[in-house]
């Protein structure tokens, strides 16, 4: 009996989310597109035949949209004659991995630091916020360049640097949320009942901050992708033979005049993913805001 109710509850929840997607077609398209990208990132590299990612100078800068070659060359070939489609799929995994891990890392670290700062306040809290100020008072791109000059611009370092430079937003947001939540009744209740600080922070406060942080994170994913590509432009991004969309755009810029497709397709994908994330994030914002959620729940009232 209990089980059935819970199951029904779950189904209802999904139905609700689904209908909220249906009421925002742009968000629906975005989530479908993003899910497809995630699929590519996970399974893509194992699906493509190695021969399409091998150098083949005879096909160098092959023009797109021709049927003379295998369908894998439909988007043309790059400066080394590798299939654009294959390269783009390979890049999906790296790009998603870098941006995804950077965002998760900075959200977790920044969130926890913000929570601590907001909950304890005082000297510790201030110290943490000054740290955020330091990072914020300096163009993140330059900081990343300095650090990447010191260490190898490998996958891991890239993730750490990108995560580090995006941290302050989470620190500030988490702190602001905590300051507000701390005043609420249930927290005082928990404190008076003798719950430990850690328990209060992670059991009672943290869950309430997660929706806001997630909304920011979806947006941030786009920023991290763009930041990664700017680093590639400056030559300190990920290094070949690894590949990301950002690196493809940066390398392709040299060929804009003779082979526009080298930079155009990866640029288009970066744009589409960023756009989808933006749309999804504004949908999330509405869904998570009790005062605005009705906009997506009732189709009839759309004309406000």
């Amino acid at each position: 009996m209990q089980l059935i109710i819970e199951k029904n509850h779950l189904i209802n929840k999904f139905r609700k989310i689904f209908s909220m997607f249906m009421n925002d077609k742009l968000a629906l398209i975005s989530i479908i597109f993003l899910l497809f990208m995630v699929f590519l990132a996970i399974f893509g590299p194992s699906l493509i035949n190695e021969s399409y990612t091998k150098m083949n100078l005879r096909l160098r800068n092959l023009e797109p949209f021709s049927f003379d070659h295998h369908i894998m060359y439909f988007f043309g070939a790059d400066a080394l004659g590798r299939s654009m489609i294959a390269r783009l799929i390979l890049a999906t995994q790296n790009t998603m991995f870098i941006a995804g891990s950077a965002v998760i890392l900075s959200m977790t670290l920044g969130g926890v630091l913000g929570l601590i700062s907001g909950y304890y306040g005082g000297r510790t809290g201030n110290l943490i916020m000054r740290m955020a100020d330091i990072i914020m008072s300096f163009p993140s791109l330059l900081l990343a360049v300095i650090v990447l000059y010191m260490f190898d611009p490998g996958l891991l370092n890239l993730v750490i640097v990108l995560a580090f430079t995006r941290m302050p937003i989470y620190m500030r947001t988490a702190r602001a949320e905590v300051l507000e939540i701390r005043e609420r009744l249930f927290v005082s209740a928990a404190i008076s009942m003798g719950a430990s600080n850690l328990r209060i922070i992670f059991k009672h406060i943290a869950p309430l901050t997660i929706p806001t942080l997630l909304t920011i994170a979806t947006l941030d994913f786009a920023f991290v992708m763009l930041g990664e590509s700017a680093l590639s432009f400056l030559g300190v991004g990920i290094q070949p033979p690894e590949v990301t969309w950002g690196l493809m755009v940066a390398q392709g810029r040299n060929y804009l005049q003779i082979a526009w497709w080298l930079a155009f397709f990866p640029g288009l994908i970066i744009m589409s993913v960023a756009l989808s994330l933006n749309l999804l994030s504004s949908w999330l914002r509405i869904v998570l805001d009790p005062r605005q959620r009705w906009r997506l729940e009732n189709i009839g009232d759309k004309s406000d």
Binding site: P139, I146, A230, F233, L275
Partner: protein, 305 residues
Amino acid sequence: MRQYLSKRIFSSILAITGLFVMVFFLARLTGDPGHLYLPIDAPLEVRKEFSEKHGFNDPIYIQFGKFLEDLTDGNFGYSLRKERPAIDIVLEAIPVTLSLAAVAMSIAVVGAILIGSLAAYRPNGIFDRISRVVSLTAASAPDFWVAITAILIFSVSLGWLPTSGIGGVPYWIMPIGILVIRPLGLLVQVVRGSMITALSSDFVKTARAKGVKEKVVIFKHALRNGLLPVITVAGDQAAAIANGAVIVETIFGWPGIGKLMIDSIMQRDFAVVQASILITAIVILSINIIIDIAYAVLDPRIRHK
């Protein structure tokens, strides 16, 4: 207010000091500038002599001590590359970037208020949808790619604008355009969001009920409140626009602070790196303080305290 301000300034100084120490040590870990400065074929003896002369062989903490000593005399060090005081070079570059950023930010803020308010007036209306997709698409493109494509289209193919360089209005159009895109896309969303909230708030409803004209409602009552988050976000964009400036200045050949920093980091010209980081951080933190004040002035809740 005064107390708040002095506290804020104090903490800013702390932040700058922290940043500075961090950069000083990080930069020195990136390698001996002697390798870069001397020709590849320079004999070993010349290399050794060079490193000794400039103190690059000393432990980092001794170099830091020397630097502090100079700093107390108001001396930011001497550029290894340019044979000039580092601070002079930085002060030449700052106005270029500031004027670029000021124009870009003004356009972005004004544009965002206009577009955002119009979009918020009828949420999910046709204008809202179009402006949302267009502004977000533009903000999602890699800026260096947009910049080079723009040069190829507007200068090479159409011949409407000069390719690059500093000069009259035509020279400003592309760099400013590139710099505006990202903050504009972001700010439009912020204005839209806060205007929607403001327009559905009680005092706007009251004003409307009283029969106040729609224009006055939007631009006086709603906008005033809707602007607050814009100011915060615009402040955060101050550092972000410096990122954009690095790219724009590199491509369009503007002698600003962004390009100077990248070049001096690449050349390991530490004195210039330090001076430019210090000055940039001061500028960015000052802007943030000004924004805090503006916030206090505009927010009725804080103002009336």
